[in-house]
Amino acid sequence: MFRERRCIRCGTCQTVCAQGAISVVGDVVSTDREKCTLCGTCVEACYAEAREIVGREVTVAEVMAEIEQDIAFYDQSGGGVTLSGGEPLVQRDFLLALLRACQEKEIHTAVDTCGFATWETLDRLREHVDLFLYDLKLMDDARHPKFTGVSNETILRNLQRLSTLGHDIILRVPIIPGINDDEENIRRTGAFAAALPRLNQLNVLPYHHAGADKCSRLNRIYGLPETRPPSDERMFEIVQILQGFGLPIKIGG
């Protein structure tokens, strides 16, 4: 990622790049992503912190050291650690080790997931997870793959099983205008959630534009340039529909 406003045009990145992938011509700094091997040398060399590789390798111990810094706050507020992503279940073994380490220190754990994993994976992790933050994006499986790349069958089945087994779950429903905010999807979502044996809360999350900035830092095209966040009135309507199913709803979360 490149943060253009921080760049001081010193040209050090260009000098240190072994692949010759960076060019600084006048005010314009560009990176040839074909040549870039993500070695990270330019990131280190940039004192203005205008360059960033998103993601780094860490050990469980390193992550725990950071988590444990805030124990005083967890104790006071009843909070804990939330493991999110991307999709944390993709790193199953690391996640398991981390969750175990948290439990050993009696730190409350929450996992934020889309639920797309084998039951075997979830089954192994779930005894170490105090709270699931579980996405519920789109009920119609005819349309689900178009927007996510996969069917929602596994996702819904996993959710059903976790709920039946008595886990604490907060459902997270992003509201994306023109994609999943139609009345039918809202109603089907409400019906499904209401039929779950156990559900702590359902959070509706209004779409926001913050991702567009990240995209430009990665030189990518943003997929929904025209979409605006849903209005307060629209959110209110949606909440009303869902409350009609007797569900505990919160906007945001």
Partner: protein, 803 residues
């Protein structure tokens, strides 16, 4: 709570009143001193001067007021104190015309100064005497901006009242004074005569205040006679009654209690101009007995009656609210005495820092939060005035809803109340040797200063510029701004091989300048004790009557002198940068770094970015930087804490800036943390503005590594956007943050809740943001009254968007 029409009018009058210079006090003081009184002791002379003022100053009763009395002839008519600091004509012109914190000076006032005040007082003022008595080293350090001198324009202060006036009248104090006089041992006590004079002086002052109140009663009756409106007539008659009864007698009801305090406040701030004016302290504790029926309904019945120690006639809640609101407005009518020069820069504000404490602990250790605490919080929220300031004193025993209630006010962006750790305050006082009872009855005053209310002289003597001392260390004793050698030769920094060597050099330099400051203080203390005692203030603070000694001369039960350390954050980051890059990583040599600083980073942008970004910073829960902060703190503590004063007291430290971090920054070049020359320093103990990048939890963790209990107060500022506290969840998080910080033994925290866009807009269009109050240091102020550098600095203070 809502405002009555009366209160709304009085409040508007207060907001609209222009701060002006009133020459009345100066003229009266001059008239008095012109008299040849022959051989009169200093305390008696000052008492007679006080009496003269109280007998002759204009009595002001504003339309519709319930609580009466102003420091000057009208709201915000601000007196001057030429016997301490006589403003020159140039000073008056600056006061009149300067953009910020100005005071109107009428042509008549200017003429009075030109023809009467200046000619008389030139050569006779305390300020001149102080500068005359200070050494060349002191003057060099003062001019370089190493420290400030609090007493060069104002008298020793930071004083807070306890509950004595709610139980005793001035006639009772006179009896105490007489008892003390009667017990003087002229045979064996060599100080008997001096004590006699001091006690005589106190007695004169007691009479003077009683007379002052009576003059208000007379005026009120006069107005009543002319008053057509029957309701107002009754009120004026009641005012006359109140002003005849107090302060001579202990108050019988809430109205008398408030009026009594107010007369005392005017007395203290007319006698002299002590820092932080005066302060009723633990108001919710002191006024609680005056609510009858008691504010909490008695068990099993509706009638309050005369149960317990509740006083006076049944008081309808609405009237109580109105009286308290009127009381609040009185403080707002009293701008701080006009300052000039350095004193203006270090405390650039109209506010005079009466910090009303709410909550805390009772003397027996029980939770002090009561229904009046909540009522007063309502008053704070409703009145939304610059003065007085208010704080909540949070103990383990305080209920969460107390903090949440304050949180609802904080999130309106008002900047009040500030939040203190009552349990830690008790520990601080007990560490200093106060009794447990006195400690629990204490609290905080001014910005964040800890004190045993009613029993202590906890005086602040001046700010100390730690980063400037570091700069001088890095130049081997020379101030690079002037080229003058004003410090010790502690070694060529390019020759230091270890960080410890550098730090040792800094420590030596620090001790050298602290010695200079203390030597100066010890003389200033004597000057005040000898030439300008404060017999009126003395009769209010234990144990001056019993000991027969003046407040300025060790009469109080406890005597503490503070030197306020400034720039902890900047120091931590600057020294961390040196340690990390020059000594540990060897990214830069000392010479290279000094060259970059010398050129204010011009041509060294990459180096500046390195220092700003690729360096551990205080405020991020990173032990590398936080350990350096602790070392800076320990060095400052070791240099000061425990030294004796000339009053039988002890030196202690606290860490707060008011606005001096702007002035102190202006005399320092670029610093190793990446700060550009002349920019403000960090404020209080907060991280350098913009360096805390891991959220308020990390800030709290870092700050808590300091051992606050060894101070007499620390100041932490945090800035939040309004959204953060917008709902109940946000308020809950605020409570959690505060509780955790206090669990970790933090002393104080305060919150600015205004988004940067609003502040920037206010900079562009100040006329549209006249009422915008923000938190500066230990107080709130109108954003538009702040100098631009301070405005920019507040905007830059890290704005957290999420917990």
């Amino acid at each position: 709570m809502t405002m009555s029409q009366r209160v709304a009018r009085l409040r508007q009058q207060s907001l609209d009143a222009r701060p002006t210079i009133s020459t009345e006090r100066a003229e009266l003081m001059t008239e008095f001193y012109r008299q040849d009184l022959g051989l009169v002791s200093a305390p008696v002379r000052r008492a007679l001067a006080f009496q003269y003022l109280m007998e002759h100053k204009t009595i002001c009763i504003n339309d519709g007021e319930l609580i009466v009395g102003e420091k000057g002839p009208a709201p915000k008519a601000t007196p001057t104190y030429p016997e301490l600091c006589c403003h020159s004509l140039e000073d008056l012109d600056i006061l009149n015309s300067r953009e910020k914190i100005s005071f109107d000076v009428s042509p008549e006032a200017r003429k009075v100064y030109e023809e009467t005040i200046i000619p008389f007082w030139r050569g006779k003022t305390m300020r001149e005497l102080i500068f005359q008595e200070m050494t060349e080293e002191w003057k060099a350090a003062y001019e370089a901006g190493i420290f400030t001198e609090f007493m060069e324009q104002r008298s020793p202060g930071h004083c807070v009242l306890d509950d004595k006036i709610y139980k005793k009248g001035f006639l009772d104090f006179k009896r105490d004074i007489q008892r003390s006089l009667d017990s003087l041992d002229y045979l064996n006590d060599p100080d008997a005569y001096d004590k006699q004079e001091e006690l005589k002086a106190m007695d004169i002052c007691a009479d003077a205040l009683i007379r002052f109140a009576e003059r208000h009663a007379e005026k009120a009756l006069e107005l009543a006679q002319q008053e057509a409106d029957p309701q107002r007539k009754r009120e004026l008659e009641r005012i006359a009654e109140v002003c005849s009864y107090v302060p001579a007698h202990a108050p019988r009801d809430l109205w008398e209690a408030l009026q009594y305090y107010w007369f005392v406040h005017l007395g203290v701030t007319t006698e002299l101009n002590p820092w932080d004016s005066f302060n009723p302290g633990r108001l919710d504790q002191h006024l609680y007995p005056f609510f009858n029926p008691p504010l909490s309904p008695p068990v099993g019945g509706m009638k309050g009656g005369e149960e317990g120690d509740h006083k006076g006639a049944p008081l309808p809640r609405q009237q109580a609210e109105e009286l308290l609101q009127c009381f609040w407005i009185k403080f707002n009518n009293q701008p701080a005495p006009p300052k000039v020069g350095v004193t203006a820069a270090e405390s650039s504000t109209y506010t005079d820092f009466a910090q009303i404490n709410l909550g805390g602990l009772k003397e027996d250790g029980a939770d002090g939060v009561n229904e009046l605490t909540f009522l007063l919080l309502d008053v704070v929220e409703e009145m939304r005035l610059l003065q007085p300031s208010a704080s909540i004193q949070v103990s383990k025993k305080s209920p969460d809803r107390f903090i949440k209630r304050a949180g609802r006010i904080i999130r309106t962006g008002f900047g009040q109340p500030s939040v203190f750790n009552a349990d830690l305050v008790v520990q601080e006082l007990v560490r200093q040797g106060k009794s447990l009872a006195d400690a629990r009855n204490g609290g905080t005053s001014g910005c964040v200063e800890t004190g045993a209310f009613g029993k202590e002289n906890n005086n602040l003597s001046g700010y100390f510029n730690m980063p400037k001392v570091l700069e001088i260390t890095l130049h081997n004793g020379v101030d690079p701004r002037t080229g003058k050698k004003i410090g010790l030769e502690t070694g060529d920094p390019t020759q230091f091989e270890t960080f410890e060597q550098l730090f040792e050099a800094y420590r030596k330099q620090l001790h050298y300048f602290v010695d200079i400051k203390v030597r100066g203080n010890n003389v200033v203390e004597r000057l005040y004790a000898r030439y300008i005692p404060a017999p009126f203030l003395s009769l209010l603070i234990d144990d001056c009557i019993a000991s027969g000694k003046d407040y300025h001369d060790g009469g109080a039960r406890y005597d503490t002198t503070y030197i306020q350390g400034v720039g902890v954050g900047t120091m931590a980051d600057a020294l961390t940068a040196l340690k990390y890059h020059v000594f540990d990583r060897k990214t830069l040599t000392m010479a290279e770094l000094l060259a970059a600083l010398g050129d204010d980073f011009v041509g060294y942008e990459r180096t500046r970015q390195l220092l700003l970004n690729k360096t551990p910073k205080y405020g991020n829960d990173d032990d590398y930087a936080d350990d350096v902060m602790v070392a800076v703190f320990d060095a400052y503590f070791d240099a000061i804490d425990g030294r004796p004063t000339t009053k039988g007291g002890t030196y202690r430290i606290n860490l707060l800036p008011t606005t001096v971090h702007v002035y102190f920054g202006s005399v320092i070049g670029a610093t190793p943390d990446g700060r550009r020359a002349a920019n403000p320093l960090s404020e209080g103990i907060s991280p350098v503005q913009g360096s805390d990048r891991r959220g308020p939890t990390a800030v709290v963790k870092s700050v808590a590594k300091m051992d606050h209990v060894r101070t007499g107060g620390t100041l932490l500022n945090q800035k939040f956007t309004p959204q953060l506290l917008g709902d109940d969840g946000g308020l809950d998080n605020l409570v959690h943050l505060i509780r955790t910080f206090f669990k970790l033994d933090g002393h104080h925290i305060q919150f600015n809740v205004v988004d940067a866009a609003t502040l920037r807009a206010a900079q562009q269009n100040p006329e549209q943001y006249r009422d915008l109050i923000v938190r500066v240091a230990g107080y709130s102020d109108y954003f538009c009254d702040l100098g631009q550098v301070l405005q920019d600095e507040i905007i830059a203070r890290t704005e957290h968007q999420a917990f």
